[in-house]
Structure formats: structure tokens, C-alpha cells
Amino acid sequence: MISENLLAVFYLISGVLFILALRGLSSPETSRQGNLFGILGMAIAIGVTIISVGNFSTGFLYLLVLLLIGGSIGAFIAFKIPMTAMPELVAGFHSLVGLAAVFVAISAFLNPDVFNLGSPGSIKIASLIEMSLGAAIGAITFTGSIIAFLKLRGIMSGSPITFFGQHYLNLVLGLILVGLVFYLCKTQSDIWFWTIIIISFLVGVLLIIPIGGADMPVVISMLNSYSGWAAAGIGFTLENTALIITGALVGSSGAILSYIMCKGMNRSFFNVILGGWGATDQSSSNQSKEQKPVKSGNADDAAFLMKNASSVIIVPGYGMAVAQAQHALREMVDALKKNGVKVTYAIHPVAGRMPGHMNVLLAEANVSYDEVFELEEINNDFANCDVAYVIGANDVTNPVAKTDPQSPIYGMPILDVEKSKSVLFVKRSLSPGYAGIDNDLFYRDNTLMLFADAKKMTEDIIKSL
């Protein structure tokens, strides 16, 4: 129906369109166009593949029906999902890519003829290695993302699960996987192939359970990266350029995001992977601090302070997402602006549960993106600002990161909230954040604690403005 060469050119075109899709994201203005490039690339890839197979019999009908079913489920989810649930959604989607990679690898193994990989029992060695890699990474992505999903959704406890010898177990399983691939190539026997998949499922679970709440941004980025490598592995098996290009793009994208997230916490990637932050070191540090004096205020105090300020910086965090306070927050800011107060937003790289989480929520609440700044852009402004309004953030504002070398978060870049003339800290209680560390900021003279739910407090402030 269509020559191999022409087909390859079309796959190359979709690969290029995918690159343009990512390129578009360099600014919000070009991003929507970028997404259209992505959709076009996908349509081309699917279209030419169907034409090249050239089988328009019953199977084709099933294909259309399945596309329709899958598409409607996807579209339904895409339109229904609240923006606060984006981390879970992305984790869930990663698991689907992983499982799809496993399935494709399985069918390539069972029916190698259609992919020109040889015949069952005598598959090319290179193809066997590529498909086991694709299947293994896909399987790890699948179960790993399921665990991440369960943790983010709150179905499973977000705290790290560690046990003795965990890392050795992972190491041993990794070595077993290498051995299994070797035996698979030697014997071509399907038992090894299935074992590879099953062990990889197990590895996925074991890799993610020791990583806890505040490290979720790293986990999600990492799984994003894995799903890319899985696709690339399958791309090599199927000798398909679109898949290879896409896999490489997604793989490096996820890797870069993981790097940015780790840097945002001043932790090495391995440190995060090995997990266990907050589970072990919290008991020692925060018993003595119980009795320190804390100034607390109510909505009227906060409204008074902010109304008379000339500049206010809002510091949102995961708590804002949990309380769904973004819309109330924007109303409060509108009210402040009417009073002539200059308001900006400061976002820490690891605020929330995934990269860019806060930005999406603020965008949803109609906050103009040129009022929202990243850590490096805005950190010097705290010194000249009258009020910092911390809503749902905690560890990322903790000055201990700069002063106490003993602290587990020492060296983590933080927002210099304490430099502003006064700090309004919305929080339900004095309990420490996810890192399990007491926040020094609570006890400063210029801090006024507002003990309430983030949304309720913000609404009350609007009333008294």
C-alpha cells in the first residue's frame, strides 16, 4: 500500500512535529499551537500505520471501535478531572503507557513475523534484547506509576515504606533481570520472557514505595522519563523512527524535570531514589520546641495588614491545592489590587506534588501568568515587600535550610519569606510539614499565624477587606 521508505519519511515528520510540540511550550503564547503540532504528528503516525498495514477487514473495524472507546474514556477524563488532581492523572497516564509498552513487546515476542524480527523460537538476538528492555522498563513504569497514583490519591499512605535490605533486594532483582535477558537470548524460551516481565512489575513497586510525600515531584518526573525509555526500547524493536525520536524526547524531558526537582530540594537523585526522608530523622529534632511563643491572628488582622501594605507576595504550596483555595485567593488578590496594593506570586520549584503544579492552579483561577514568578526571579523582592502571604507552603519557606547544618533540609534553596516586613502564615496547626521538620518561621516576631483552613481563611479575609 505504501512503500517502506515513504512510511519512514512520514514517521520522521511526526517525530519532528513532536519536537515542535515541546518547543512550543517555551512560552504560553506558542504553547497552544505546539499542542496542535503534537496532535497532527500523532494523527499522521496513526494514519500511515493503518494504511501501511493495509488490512481493512474485520480487524480494522475492531481497531476503530477500540480507538473510539479509548478516545472517549480519555476525553471524558480530560474534561472532568479537577486541576488539583493533575498529579494523579499524570501518574495514571504514565501507567497506561507502561502497560501498552509491555503489551506491544509481548505481541512482538509472540508474533515476530509481522514485525520482521524473525520467527517464534528464532528471533534476532538484538530484537530480543530490545524487546526485553522495552517490556522491562514498561513494566516498571506501570507498577511504579500505579503506586505513585495510589499515594497521590491518598488511597495508600504517602509516607515512605522501607524495610531492611530493601536496596540489596532491588540490586539482586536487577542482576536477576540481566541474567534472564541473557538466558532468553540463549534459549529463546518464553518462560524467561514472562519471568522478566513479572520481576519488572515487582521492581516497579519496590522502587516507588520507599519514596514519600514531598518527593512525589521527583517520582512523577522519573516515571515520565521511564515511560519515554520504554517507548524508545519498543521503537528499536519495531525499527520505528517516530517511536525512537519520541522516546528519546520524553526520556530526556523526564530526566531534566527530575534533575530540576532534585535541585529544588538540594538532594541528589540517588538520595531521593533510596528514599525515606521524613520517616527517620524527625523524632530527634522537634521535641524541645513545643513551648515557644507564637503570635496568632484572625482574618481581620490579616486584612488590615495587607490593605495597608504597598506590596504583597503570595507564596502558595500544596496546602492550597488540597484546600482548593486558588479561586478564593485570586478574589482576595483582586480586592487587594482595588486598594492599590501590588501583588505578585512566588513559586518554589518543588511546591505541590508535580513540576509546575502551582502554576496550573493559579492559571485555572485566572491569575495572569506574568504576575507569577519563580524562585530566582523573585527571591530578592521579599526584602522590599510588606507582607508575605504563605498559603499551604511550609518546608520551602523554612529558614532552617539556611542556618542549621544539622537539618535534613539544610542547603535546600528556600523562598526568603522571613525577610519581608511581616509574614502571614496560613496553616491549620503548628505541625511540621512533610519533611517532618519544625518551621522556625512560626516563632519569628514578624510572623502572624492564621490558624485555619486555607480556603476558609482567605474567604474570611475577603469579607473583611
Binding site: 504560553p28 504553547s31 509481522v114 528499536f236 517511536l243 489590587k337 482595588k338 495572569s368
Partner: protein
Amino acid sequence: MEIDPFIFRLSIFILSIFIGYYVVWSVTPSLHTPLMSVTNAISSVIIVGAIIAALAGKTENIFDTANIFGFMAIILAAINIFGGFLVTQRMLAMYKKKKKDKK
């Protein structure tokens, strides 16, 4: 001696990693969430493998085990493609600069 086609694919792969590296660093941090959802959508191009797996082979035995795995992969990838692109579109539509109202 001719160069193994694998080497060409490897070259494409390596160069794409570099392209990805530079392109992704230029993505503005505020769009990192859409970046994740769109990379997720495009990695579902794995559906091309699923389509070949599902449709290729003898027309009579569509429900060979290999084909069934192909069909299952098609559903999963389709959820991802539509879900990923649409949710990205929905998010990106929210990123606006306010021009009109200076309340």
C-alpha cells in the same frame, strides 16, 4: 562493509536525546505540568506498534493471542492520546495574560 541499520537508529536516538535536552531546558517552568501531560500523550505513539500487532498477520485469526495484546494496547494508548492532548489543551487555554481588566 555496509553499516548496520541499527547504527542509524542509534544515531537518531542519541541526537534526539540532545534535541530533547535543549528543547526541554527552554520550556518555561510555569508550563512544566503541561509539558508532562504532552510528553505523556506523545509517548503513546507506541500505538503504531499496537496497530501493527493487532492487524497484521493472517486475516482469519484476528484473535490470536498476539493480536489480542495488540488490541488491548490500542485501548490503553488511545485513552492516553486523547486524554493527554485534551487535558494539555485544557490547561494551556487557562494560561492567559490579562489585558482587558485593570479592575
